[in-house]
C-alpha cells in the first residue's frame, strides 16, 4: 500500500509493520478504528438516552426557572419594570405602557396567557387580566384612573409586585412557591400563611415514608431471599415464581386487590369480626390512610428488594459460615460478622432501588392514601394536570436534588462501587 521510498528513514530500533509503518502509529490507527466502531455500536443507545432522558430532564430543570407568559406578551411594561428598582410604585409612564400592552394583548388574544403567569404567584390576577383586556379598547388617558375604573384591584401594590416578579422570563418564583414562600408587597421573601404551607412538609413526609417502606421491605425480604438462595433448586424455583408473579401483575390490579382485602368492610376485617377478635363497631382502619399506603407500597416494591439480595446471597459460599462456626463463633456472631457483610452490596442495591421508586410513587398513594397518605408526587401530578408545568418542574427538581443528595451520602458511607444489582 505505501510506497517504500516515501517512508522516512527510520532507526533500526523502531519497530515497523510489514508495510514499513511504525508499529505504534499502526496500532493507534487500528485502535481508533475499533473505538469508532464501538462508538457506532453504542450510538443508538446514546442517542436514545440523550433524547429520552437527558433532554427531558434538562427541559424540566429549565422550565422550573423559565416562564415567558408575561414578558413576551407585555414587553412594554416588562421594560418599565426592568428600568425601575424593585418597590417603585407605578407612575403614569407605567400605566401608559400597561395600556399599550393590553391593547396589543387584546388584539392577539394573549391576555389570558399573561394573566395565567401572574396568577401563579397571586391568585385572581388571571381574571383581572382577561377583564381588563375585554375593556382595553376604551382605555384612554389619564391611564391610572382608566385602569382603576375597570377594576379597583389595579391599585393593589401586591398585583404590581406579582407582575414585577413575572416580568422577566427567568424567575425564582416557582422555587419560592415550592418551598412555601412568597413575596410581600415590598418584594421581601416571607413564609406563606401557616394554613397554606404544604410542600416542605410533604417533602419531609415523602422521604420519611419512603425510608420506612425501605426498612420494612428489607426486614421482609432478607429472610425470603436467604431462603431462596439456600433451598434446593426445585423448591427455590417454585418460591421464585411466587415472588415474581405479583411482580408481573399490573400495579392497579394489585392496589385494588389490597382495597378489597383491607377496607372497613373488607375480607380481613370481616374475618376478624366473625372470629370475635374485634367488634363490628371497631373495625380496623387499614385502608384510605397512611397505613394503607405503607402496606400496599411495601408489597408493590418488595420484589425490588428480594431480587438484588437473592442474586448476592446465591454466590456467598456456605463454607465461610461453617468455618466461622467451627472456630467457635455463635450463630449471631457468624451472621453479624461473616454473612451480613457479604450481603451488603445486595442490601445497598435493594434499598436504593426501593427508596428511589418509593419517592416518586403516585398511583398507589392516590388510590389508597386517603387524607394522610399522599406524597409529594400527587401534588406534582396535580400541577401537571392543571398546566402549571413550571411549579411541577420546580417540585420535581427539588425531589431530584433530594435523591441526589442521598445518593451522594450513600456513596460516601457505603461506596457506590459496592452496589450489586444482579
Amino acid at each position: 500500500m505505501a510506497d517504500a521510498t516515501a517512508v522516512p528513514p527510520m532507526s533500526p530500533a523502531l519497530l515497523t509493520t510489514a508495510d514499513g509503518r511504525p508499529l505504534k502509529a499502526a496500532l493507534q490507527a487500528a485502535q481508533a478504528r475499533a473505538r469508532r466502531r464501538a462508538f457506532l455500536l453504542v450510538a443508538p443507545l446514546l442517542l436514545f438516552v440523550v433524547l429520552t432522558f437527558i433532554v427531558p430532564i434538562g427541559q424540566m430543570l429549565h422550565r422550573s426557572v423559565y416562564h415567558d407568559g408575561l414578558s413576551s406578551n407585555a414587553p412594554k411594561i416588562a421594560a418599565w419594570f426592568a428600568a425601575t428598582p424593585a418597590g417603585t410604585p407605578p407612575d403614569e409612564a407605567a400605566w401608559a405602557a400597561l395600556a399599550e400592552d393590553f391593547k396589543a394583548m387584546k388584539a392577539n388574544k394573549t391576555a389570558g396567557e399573561a394573566g395565567t403567569r401572574v396568577n401563579y404567584t397571586l391568585p385572581e390576577t388571571r381574571s383581572l387580566f382577561t377583564k381588563t383586556a375585554r375593556g382595553a379598547d376604551k382605555l384612554a388617558p389619564p391611564w391610572h384612573e382608566a385602569f382603576v375604573a375597570i377594576d379597583p384591584k389595579w391599585d393593589d401594590l401586591a398585583v404590581w409586585q406579582a407582575m414585577r416578579g413575572a416580568s422577566t422570563a427567568y424567575t425564582t418564583d416557582f422555587y419560592l412557591i415550592a418551598t412555601d414562600r412568597t413575596r410581600d408587597a415590598a418584594g421581601n421573601v416571607e413564609q406563606v400563611a401557616e394554613n397554606q404551607r404544604i410542600y416542605l412538609w410533604l417533602f419531609g413526609k415523602t422521604f420519611f415514608l419512603s425510608g420506612m417502606i425501605t426498612v420494612i421491605c428489607l426486614a421482609l425480604a432478607f429472610p425470603v431471599a436467604h431462603l431462596l438462595a439456600t433451598l434446593p433448586a426445585r423448591k427455590a424455583n417454585l418460591l421464585m415464581i411466587l415472588v415474581l408473579l405479583p411482580f408481573w401483575t399490573s400495579l392497579l390490579v394489585r392496589t385494588t386487590s389490597w382495597m378489597v382485602l383491607l377496607q372497613g368492610q373488607g375480607v380481613v376485617n370481616d374475618l376478624l369480626v366473625r372470629g370475635g377478635l374485634i367488634g363490628d363497631e371497631s373495625r380496623l382502619a387499614m385502608m384510605y390512610n397512611q397505613t394503607g399506603t405503607i402496606i400496599v407500597m411495601t408489597h408493590v416494591l418488595l420484589p425490588f428488594m428480594i431480587l438484588p439480595l437473592y442474586s448476592v446471597m446465591r454466590v456467598i459460599p456456605p463454607s465461610y459460615a461453617r468455618a466461622a462456626r467451627s472456630l467457635g463463633a455463635t450463630s449471631w456472631t457468624t451472621f453479624r460478622r461473616i454473612y451480613l457483610p457479604q450481603t451488603l452490596p445486595g442490601i445497598g442495591a435493594g434499598a436504593l432501588l426501593v427508596f428511589i421508586l418509593a419517592v416518586g410513587y403516585y398511583i398507589t398513594p392516590a388510590l389508597v392514601g386517603g387524607a394522610d397518605g399522599q406524597l409529594i408526587s400527587n401534588l406534582i401530578q396535580f400541577h401537571m394536570a392543571n398546566s402549571n408545568w413550571s411549579l411541577a418542574a420546580a417540585l420535581a427538581a427539588m425531589l431530584l436534588a433530594g435523591v441526589l443528595v442521598l445518593y451522594w451520602l450513600y456513596d460516601r458511607l457505603i461506596g457506590i462501587d459496592n452496589l450489586k444489582l444482579g
Partner: protein
C-alpha cells in the same frame, strides 16, 4: 436544544396514537366515552362518510398543551371540563369556535337562543351538563332518608362514613351550601378569606368520618362495598349503577353543583374543518338528544328537551335523572370556572394542608 426537545416529545406523542382517521376524538373512556361514541362518532361517520375514531384518556385536557407545544397535534376534537376549556383557550392552545356557524335547533330556534347560558364559549361548545351530587344506599337508612344538602353533614341523624372527592373544587361549595349559604352567594362568600375558613370549619365537622376518593368510578364502588353511607359522585355514575346494575342508590339533587362539558379543537388539529363539522353535528339537537339517551347528563340545548327522552333500554324516562330537569334544579349551583381557574392552586394548597393537619 429546543428543537431537540420538541422532536423528542413529538416522537413519543406521535407513536402513542398513530390513528388513521379523518377525525380523532379524545374523551374520558368508560360509560361516558361509550355514550359519545354511540351518539356522536358513529352517526357522524355514517352520515358524512368520513372516518372517525374515539380514543380514551384519563383526562383529555392534560395532553393538549403538550401536543400543541410540540407541534404534533394528533387529536382533532377533545372533550374537556369547562374550566379546562377556559384555561386552555386563555393559554392559546385551542382553535376559536365560530358560534354563528352552529346550526339552529330542531324546532327552528336560532343557536344563540337555543343553547343554555354559558354553553358556547370562545373555544368550546357544550356536549352535555353533568353534576356533582351526593347519593346514598337506600337500604342503609330504614327511617328518614337524606333529602337536603345539610343532611350530608349531619352525622347524628344519618350516621355512617361519607365519601368525598379529594380536592377543593365542588367540596368547598358543598360545605358552604350545607352551612346555609344560598347558591347565588356561594362564590361571593368563597371569594373572601372568612368564607374559605367557614367552608373548612364545616368540613371539620365530618373530617374524621370521610373516605376520600380520587377516580370517578371509586364513588359508586365505595357505596356498593358499604364503605360509606353517602358519597358525592358524578350523577351519571350513580345512574349507571342504579339502572344498569340495579343497585339501591338514590341521588339527592338538593345542592347539586353542575357544569358544562365542552368539545374543543386543539390548535393545529390535522383536520380542523372536519373537526368543526363534527362539533356542529354532535352539538345539534339530534346529537345532544342521542347522547342523553346513552348517559344521564343533560343536553345543553332547550330544543333537545322538547320531546320526551328515553334511555337506551327503551323504558327509563330520562328527564328525572338529568341535572337539567327543573325539579332537580330548585337548589343548584353552576360551577364558576372563572373562580376555579383563578384560585385552583391556592385553594388546593390550603385543602392539602388542611387534609394533612390532624
Amino acid at each position: 436544544m429546543k428543537r431537540l426537545l420538541i422532536l423528542s416529545t413529538a416522537l413519543s406523542a406521535g407513536l402513542a396514537f398513530a390513528a388513521n382517521a379523518d377525525v380523532t376524538v379524545m374523551s374520558w373512556g368508560g360509560a361516558y366515552g361509550a355514550a359519545q361514541t354511540e351518539a356522536h362518532v358513529k352517526p357522524w361517520s355514517e352520515k358524512t362518510g368520513n372516518k372517525a375514531v374515539m380514543i380514551d384518556n384519563e383526562n383529555p385536557a392534560t395532553p393538549i398543551k403538550a401536543m400543541v407545544e410540540a407541534g404534533n397535534v394528533t387529536v382533532d376534537v377533545a372533550s374537556v371540563e369547562y374550566a379546562d376549556a377556559i384555561r386552555l383557550c386563555d393559554e392559546g392552545v385551542l382553535e376559536p369556535i365560530d358560534a354563528a356557524a352552529l346550526p339552529a335547533g330542531a324546532d327552528g330556534t336560532a343557536a344563540a337562543d337555543d343553547f343554555l347560558p354559558g354553553a358556547v364559549t370562545d373555544c368550546g361548545v357544550s356536549t352535555d351538563i353533568w353534576a356533582n351530587v351526593f347519593a346514598y344506599d337506600s337500604s342503609k337508612f330504614t327511617g328518614e332518608k337524606p333529602s337536603k344538602v345539610a343532611d350530608f353533614f349531619d352525622l347524628e341523624k344519618f350516621p355512617g362514613k361519607r365519601g368525598l372527592k379529594k380536592g377543593a373544587k365542588a367540596v368547598l361549595e358543598l360545605a358552604l351550601m350545607a352551612d346555609g349559604v344560598a347558591p347565588a352567594d356561594v362564590y361571593t362568600v368563597l371569594g373572601t378569606p372568612e368564607g374559605v375558613d367557614r367552608a373548612f370549619a364545616k368540613l371539620d365537622t365530618i373530617k374524621k368520618d370521610v373516605v376520600w376518593w380520587e377516580a370517578g368510578a371509586q364513588a359508586p364502588q365505595l357505596l356498593a362495598d358499604g364503605e360509606v353511607a353517602m358519597t358525592t359522585a358524578y350523577n351519571g355514575r350513580i345512574f349507571a349503577a342504579a339502572i344498569e346494575e340495579g343497585k339501591p342508590f338514590e341521588i339527592v339533587w338538593d345542592g347539586q353543583i353542575y357544569e358544562n362539558e365542552m368539545y374543543v379543537v386543539p390548535k393545529g388539529a390535522p383536520n380542523k374543518d372536519l373537526a368543526m363539522d363534527f362539533i356542529k353535528y354532535a352539538t345539534s339537537t339530534e346529537g345532544l338528544r342521542a347522547q342523553a339517551q346513552n348517559i344521564s347528563y343533560g343536553p345543553s340545548r332547550k330544543s333537545a328537551m322538547k320531546e320526551e327522552l328515553l334511555y337506551k333500554d327503551g323504558k327509563t324516562v330520562m328527564a328525572p335523572h338529568l341535572p337539567t330537569a327543573p325539579e332537580n334544579m330548585t337548589n343548584s349551583l353552576l360551577t364558576s370556572s372563572d373562580f376555579w381557574v383563578d384560585k385552583n392552586s391556592e385553594l388546593n394548597e390550603r385543602f392539602n394542608a388542611w387534609l394533612a393537619a390532624n
